[in-house]
């Protein structure tokens, strides 16, 4: 034996040595080692510090249930990962791992002072102190607590790795590829079922990997499964959550085990829908609870077997076993045969089968029945143990460097519980086992409570002559919860296991109680003198083991996070220097700055251009719905506030849409193309919502109407040409439409062609200028835009963005739903009485408008505001008061909804919602801002060309 590496055996590849680093030191292991097995082979026993007391900790387990040996791995810039379990990290060349929660070093940790003071930090201590003086909590106590808490360091740089995700479907999903899972797969393999077999480890086999006798069978089975076309095998994959209707989330780790960072995904999220689920997750061995059970070198018996027989590592040179279960005996027998020195077996029981005793005797192992370990000596590694007879407490010391614990087994019912399958308590094994399924699922093997590693007894705390209130017998090793913490919680009146868990934090560490829950339950049960089943069971929640944020986000990273919708003309805007804004899911050009211009200058220029010549605007994002059918007009009449039946084909109308609660939800100009065909427009953000709302009424309230709705938002690119030269620019390009004022008046629609492409041409204006909105099939949007820019050069055509559009419409008193209204505004509040059909008996929202508060005086109403100082542009969202001298809290009567500098008017303009505003025309209101209170006069909302002369040309 070299160091702790056994001379032979194990599944490691002794021909492939692997160099790696831990805490800055170089070590060698073999391909197939985990960080835990490789370090153990190098004689390392100290792996980390515990959460609260900073006690030295070694390895306790060999798998993903490990609570102690948490380490960080650094794979280079942005690739730092804290809190990995050394037992699950596969070593590879260049692996760079670090211990955690210690300063300045693992061996000399300043925080270990907590251990000395541990008596002052029992469960819930933080509730009882740190309250005086009051200000010290935030300044002193809390920062100190936070610094001591936490485990590893958080990453500090952006993760360059990518992640993948997929859906998958199968008829049979098997979780866990130990012997039970493999058997289930082999059994189903011959059918035509699609089978997925998942296991968290790097190879199939589970417990069989530590049982060389099973290796030939394992190899045969593995080959058969790989060859089966209907079986998909996913190793290094953790099924972490079991959701509704047999939907299982799993994460596959793809690259962390290899030395090189690559461009391929680091991890992959599998979202599996299964016909049937077979859970074969096995069972986890239970630690025993006794003074010093957390000393490095104390570990689970089953873990020692895994290290010995799977990895060829002796966990110690002189090993003792503390058993309450037969399985530990079998483990040490196997270890002894593999060459590990077994010093003694201590068993809490008085009687055991002669087979076990005979085998121990044959192997020359000392046996102490009816004994318990009562103390462990050694700080960074066990040096000896103290044992006592359970009856007379007569004791003796045994020198050893490792102590194994065999406390029985806990079936892994985590996923079963996620699925809401019920559990039944089994006294004989002191554990919950699966009972009635809630999904099409079943448990097989050890996770169903069926195993062949013998029997045992359940002890909550090992008998000891010591004062129970003084010993440190750990239950939750990572969170430093001791048996006496649980008893304290009970003493303080916490009776439900959920309370005990929360008060002590038992089971809330990164292992989520895999090794601590059942011991905690037993101790609480004893303390409360109630059966376990009376104190409840903490519920298991996904994930089974911690899962990477990035993997759960899957491919939704960067460009694939959320789609940004772009119009056909967006590329031109980007190439021409547009500054964009995001509106709903869309990206829209906000303004087009020329060299050296800020937003203010660009917007002023764009506005002036529209008023003086012609501007061009990409309005493609406006929602569009084609409403077709004999009852189209009737349907719209019921939906919108205003009448639609009399609208003539070829004409447009402003439509105002309320929700059934009477408040404005959307608006837009819509056109009647034919008696049974309308072209609606909606706001950019409202398109999907409006269509859904209309479908709702149509399908469920008025299914008798013969009318159908089709979203045509993306069928058309829409280019607005606005300004006195708009017609002149357009005329030569259009065929089949007479653009003259008489033939094509404001608020009309015509169909024809433009530059040879069919168009629905609207004569509408959101600027107050002569204007057209040209709808063409989307694919031609950019080409048409470029043609208009070229042809418009002689008019100095100016592209303008949403900001100029906002200014222009505000100058004309047009509202923007969602900015000037906010979901609490009626048409009357918004001054849109004219858009409400007074004679209509009903429309959506009409009845609600008659509710008492909606007709009460003093409602907030939309008005214009002109600041006394014309240069002051009020902040949108500024609050308005009637009396600026009142103390805080002030009575606010409204707020500014829209506010701009109007270059055309040479002054600022604003809209505001003001309580009783319609009755305040000419009055003065105040806008108190930090450092200055502004004054403004209440006005009408139309600031420019009130008579509309510029429109009707």
């Amino acid at each position: 034996m070299t160091g702790y590496r056994l001379d032979n055996g194990g599944r490691i590849d002794r021909n492939r040595p692997v160099e790696f680093r831990f805490d800055g030191h170089s070590y060698q292991g073999f391909a197939g080692d985990t960080l835990a097995s490789a370090l153990l082979a190098n004689g390392i026993s100290l792996f980390g510090r515990s959460f609260k007391y900073h006690r030295p900790r070694g390895i306790m387990a060999a798998g993903s249930e490990e609570p102690n040996a948490l380490i960080s791995v650094d794979r280079g810039a942005g690739r730092f990962t804290p809190n990995l379990r050394a037992t699950s990290v596969e070593i590879h060349a260049g692996l760079n791992a670090f211990s955690q929660n210690r300063w300045p070093s693992l061996k000399r940790d300043f925080g270990a002072i907590n251990d000395r003071l541990g008596m002052f930090f029992p469960a819930g201590f933080y509730n009882k102190t740190f309250m005086w003086p009051r200000s010290f909590w935030e300044k002193l106590y809390e920062p100190a607590i936070r610094k001591m808490a936490g485990l590893g360091d958080a990453p500090t740089q952006e993760d360059p790795d990518i992640y993948a995700s997929t859906y998958a479907h199968c008829d049979l999903l098997i979780v866990g590829a130990g012997p039970a899972g493999i058997d289930a797969a082999l059994e189903a393999m011959g059918s035509n079922k699609r089978i997925i077999l998942i296991d968290e480890q790097d190879e199939l086999g589970g417990g069989a990997l530590a049982d060389p006798a099973l290796w030939p069978w394992l190899e045969r089975s593995r080959k058969a499964l790989i060859d089966a076309p209907n079986v998909t095998i996913l190793t290094r994959t953790t099924a972490f959550g079991y959701y509704h209707d047999n939907f299982i989330g799993a994460v596959q780790r793809l690259t962390d085990h290899s030395p090189d960072n690559s461009d391929s995904p680091r991890e992959k999220l599998w979202r599996v829908r299964a016909g049937e689920v077979v859970l074969a997750q096995g069972a986890i061995e239970r630690p025993l609870v006794f003074d010093g059970n957390d000393t490095p070198g104390v570990m689970l018996s089953s873990a020692a077997k895994v290290f010995g027989l799977r990895y060829g590592v002796a966990v110690g040179k002189s090993v003792a076993l503390m058993a309450a279960h037969d399985s530990g005996w079998h483990d040490v027998f196997a270890l002894a045969k593999a060459g590990v020195g077994i010093k003694a077996i201590i068993d809490v029981r008085t009687e055991l089968s002669s087979a076990l005793l005979d085998e121990a005797s044959r192997l020359g192992i000392n046996v102490h029945l009816n004994h318990s370990v009562t103390g462990v000596n050694g700080r960074h590694r066990v040096t000896s143990i103290q044992i006592c007879n359970n009856d007379d407490y007569v004791g003796t010391r045994i020198d050893c460097d490792t102590l194994l614990m065999a406390g029985g087994w806990t079936p892994s019912v985590h996923l079963w519980s996620h699925s809401k399958g019920s559990l039944a308590w089994r006294d004989d094994i002191g554990a919950y086992v699966p009972d009635q399924p809630n999904e099409n699922a079943r448990c097989v093997g050890a996770c169903s409570g069926g195993w062949d590693f013998g029997s045992g007894v359940i002890v909550d705390v090992l008998p000891t002559p010591k004062d129970q209130s003084r010993i440190k017998a750990f239950v939750d090793f990572q969170n430093d919860v001791t048996a006496k913490d649980i008893k304290l919680a009970v003493r303080e009146g916490f009776r439900s296991i959920e309370h005990i868990k929360r008060y002590t934090t038992n089971g809330m560490a990164t292992d989520q109680g895999k090794t601590s829950n059942l011991n905690g339950l037993q101790i609480a049960s004893t303390a409360l003198a109630k059966p376990v089943t009376d104190i409840g069971l903490t519920s298991f929640r996904p994930p089974y083991t911690p899962q990477t944020f990035g993997a759960l986000a899957g491919h939704a990273k960067g460009a694939l996070f959320q789609p940004t919708r772009t119009t056909n003309i967006d590329g031109w805007a980007a190439e021409n220097g547009a500054v964009f804004e995001l509106v709903a899911q869309w990206r829209r050009a906000r303004y087009f700055p020329k060299m050296g211009e800020d937003m203010h200058a660009a917007v002023n220029r764009e506005c002036v251009a529209v008023r003086s010549s012609v501007g061009i605007f990409d309005a493609s994002t406006l929602g569009k719905i084609e409403v077709v059918g004999p009852d189209a007009a009737e349907f719209l009449n019921r939906m919108y506030t205003n009448p639609w039946k009399a609208l003539e084909p070829g004409r447009c109308r402003y439509g105002l849409l309320l929700k059934e609660d009477g408040f404005i939800t959307d608006d837009g100009v819509s056109a009647r193309l034919a008696p049974d065909r309308f072209h609606l427009t909606t706001t950019t953000g409202g398109a999907a919502r409006v269509l859904n709302m209309m479908e709702d009424y149509l399908q469920t309230e008025w299914p008798d109407l013969d009318v159908w709705l089709t979203s045509t938002t993306e069928q058309y690119a829409v280019i607005a040409l606005q300004g006195p030269n708009a017609r002149k620019l357009l005329e030569p390009l259009v065929e089949g439409i007479d653009l003259s004022a008489d033939a094509f008046p404001h608020m009309a629609i015509r169909e024809g062609t433009i530059c040879g492409i069919p168009t629905r041409l609207f004569r509408v204006s959101f600027t107050g200028e002569l204007g057209f909105e040209i709808n063409v099939p989307t694919a031609y949007g950019r080409a048409l835009w470029e043609r208009l820019m070229a042809e418009g050069a002689k008019f100095d055509i100016t592209p303008y963005g949403t900001e100029a559009m906002h200014v222009l419409r505000a100058e004309k008193g047009f509202i923007i739903v969602g900015q000037d209204t906010d979901g609490t505004i009626t048409p009357f509040d918004a001054g849109l009485d004219w858009a409400v059909g007074k004679k209509k008996p009903d429309f959506v929202g009409k009845r609600s408008m008659a509710r008492p508060d909606l007709v009460a005086p003093g409602r907030k109403q939309l008005v214009g505001l002109l600041t006394d100082d014309p240069n002051v542009v009020l902040q949108e969202g500024a609050q308005i008061v009637a009396d600026p001298r009142q103390p805080i809290p002030m009575t606010m009567i409204g707020h500014v909804t829209s506010s701009y500098w109007s270059e055309t008017l040479g002054r600022s303009i604003a809209f505001a919602l003001v309580a009783g505003g319609h009755e305040m025309m000419g009055g003065t209101l105040y806008i108190p801002m930090p450092g200055k209170t502004h004054e403004a006069k209440v006005t009408g909302m139309v600031f420019y060309d009130a008579e509309g002369a510029r429109l009707h040309v």
Binding site: Y243, H244, D245, F247, R271, R273, K420, N438, E660, D661, N692, E695, D696, Y697, Q699, T700, E701, P703, P841, D842, K846, R847, S848, A850, R851, P852
Partner: protein, 90 residues
């Protein structure tokens, strides 16, 4: 992600194709103007919100586009049945 049987498509489809549309069989009064404030409040806002058997509406919005009704247990989240809009309450 629950599976929902669309009564129009006649197959179970994943939840993300659907939009829940609230309690079922809350019919809009034929003559809203005749409704008292209390009646109108009930139509607009009062909901059963039962712990157990619940009638609700879904829309297969990213599928066939249709609204339909369902009976689902709100404790287990399991569907008892789904049926087409306009069919009587089950």
């Amino acid at each position: 992600m629950i599976l929902i049987h669309c009564p129009y498509c006649d197959e179970k489809r994943p939840e993300i194709e659907f939009a829940n549309a609230g309690q079922a069989h809350v019919a809009r009064p034929l003559d809203p103007s005749s409704q008292s404030d209390e009646e109108w409040e009930a139509y607009l806002f009062i909901r059963a919100n039962p712990r157990g058997r619940h009638h609700e509406r879904w829309r297969h919005v990213h599928g066939c586009g249709r609204f339909f009704n369902a009976v689902r247990d709100t404790v287990t989240d399991k569907f008892e049945t789904t049926y087409k809009a306009g069919e009587p309450r089950r």
